[in-house]
Amino acid sequence: MKNESRNQWLSYLATADENYLISLWDNLNMKIEYNWLREPEIGSVMVQGKAGVTGDNFNVGEVTITRCSLSLDKKIQGHGYVQGRNKYKSKIAALCDALMQTEKKEIIKRNIIDKLIKYKNNKRNEILSKTEATKVDFFTLVRGEDK
């Protein structure tokens, strides 16, 4: 699977539909002990665009982000940077990030990360196939004098 690397799983956790991620996590019914390094806090990230696609950078506007950090023991830390303002989503992301570095990796990967990937791919396919249906096929009309 291509989600082996940390930035991949963090990306799927960050952009997950919050209700879906929460239901996946709650269904696992895991009791995990952890310590907060940073309790969930809501903030923003400034999104940058490029003038004329390739030119100078400019600030377009901000997007809400929630973040937190926790540790399972002294060695393993999890970071939960997620889109939106849901503190529970952020905590789940941090726990998953931490557990992905432990022997519980397979459980999290199979029951959460893989499902998030599938969910996102389905959404993408849905948009692409609807967009494709609105593709314009041009045809030239035969003009009267050509007959």
């Binding site: 665009g49 696609v53 600030n59």
Partner: protein
């Protein structure tokens, strides 16, 4: 002159109570919930996010509900909330070439790689009221077709290859944030673009229209218009790795405008750029036209003294929260100021009378 006056607390509290009741409306009608607004009034939600300068659909829907659908009031609420958020950082510049497009059209080329895709548009509707919507629940389902999942290249990149259009020189220069630093004219193009992207749609539409009617010579074509989701990449400070932290919908417009050439460079098209949150194409097109008209200095064009060329005029007046703040403050008590004016006008009139009697 400002003198503080006490009083009116009861009137204000009671006004707020009535506001709360009237916001709710007829209690025999089901109350609107935030998800209904964010799912069914999507373009209002997009406008509030764009001009509120904060991408968060639930907050935008809440602001619309709280403001009784007054979008400028809703934008005000978003802006106020935005200022309370700690800034975690800045994203990498987005790559709109990798956009997951719902819509992608070009008015300059018919046959383009990636094709013209209309998406969910009002463009070819007849603008007749649809009385079927008065009845409940009826809607058509979107059709689907097989697709190739390929990146859709920007249309203007083809003109670029032939040198027919002015190049946007690749750059990684970052820009000052106009919400955190005072504005000093003349501005960089990046500062202008930030300002336009959060500017008032109506104001920018009017200015863009003025350029089309001849106030600043820059006849524009829509080279490309695209709407879709873009991955926002952000480097996690603790880890130093980049992740896709958010998926954000944007509308982007690249305009193609009339030529510019010199002794050194043969005639070539010039361009304007619009990029806004959400599916707001009227605003994205307006932004591109106004961006282009303010670039007259860069292209060595004549300054015609028209509004759309004057960055100080455009940027100082395109922010509807600044504008409404100053405009609406004049309805708040100015009793003392007015008393002074009243005294003055009485005095002038008395002197006038005296002079008349003398002659």
């Amino acid at each position: 002159m400002y003198v503080s006056v006490k009083g009116g607390e009861k009137a204000i509290n009671n006004a707020h109570s009535w506001l709360s009741e009237i916001r709710r409306g007829d209690v025999n009608i089901a109350e609107l919930n935030i998800k209904q607004i964010s799912e069914q009034l999507t373009l209002s939600v997009d406008r509030v996010m764009s001009e509120g300068s904060l991408y968060d659909k639930d907050l935008s829907a809440l602001a619309i509900k709280q403001s009784r659908g007054d979008l400028i009031e809703a934008i005000f609420l978003m802006r106020a909330y935005r200022t309370t958020l700690p800034r975690i950082g800045s994203s990498k510049p987005i790559e709109t070439g990798k956009m997951l497009c719902l819509r992608r059209i070009s008015a300059t080329f018919k046959d383009i790689p990636g094709k013209q895709k209309l998406g969910p548009t009002f463009d070819y509707t007849h603008r007749l009221l649809d009385f079927k919507l008065l009845a409940d629940g009826e809607y058509e389902k979107a059709k689907i077709e097989k697709y190739d999942d390929k990146e859709i290249p920007h249309v203007l990149s083809f003109l670029n290859k032939e040198g027919l259009i002015q190049k946007e020189i690749p750059s990684d220069k970052s820009s000052k944030d106009i919400t955190r630093n005072p504005i000093n004219f003349p501005l960089t193009r990046s500062e202008r673009l930030q300002s336009l992207s959060r500017g008032d749609e109506g104001f920018l539409l009017g200015l863009a229209y003025s350029t089309q009617r001849g106030y600043a010579r820059n006849h524009a074509f829509v080279g490309e218009l695209r709407t879709g989701y873009v991955e926002v990449q952000f480097e996690i400070p603790e880890l130093g790795i980049e992740i896709n932290i958010a998926d954000v919908m944007f509308t982007e417009c690249e305009s193609v405008n009339q030529f510019k050439g010199s002794k050194k460079i043969p005639a070539q098209f010039t361009r304007g750029y619009g990029l806004v949150f959400g599916q707001l194409e009227r605003k994205a097109i307006s932004m591109a036209l106004v961006d282009r008209s303010m670039r007259w200095r860069e292209f060595g064009e004549e300054y015609l003294g028209v509004a759309a060329q004057d960055e100080e005029f455009v940027i100082s007046h395109c922010d509807n929260i600044q504008a409404t703040g100053f405009l609406e403050h004049i309805k708040l008590p100015h009793y003392v100021d007015f008393q002074a004016e009243l005294d003055l006008v009485r005095k002038i009139r008395e002197e006038y009378k005296k002079n008349e009697q003398r002659t």
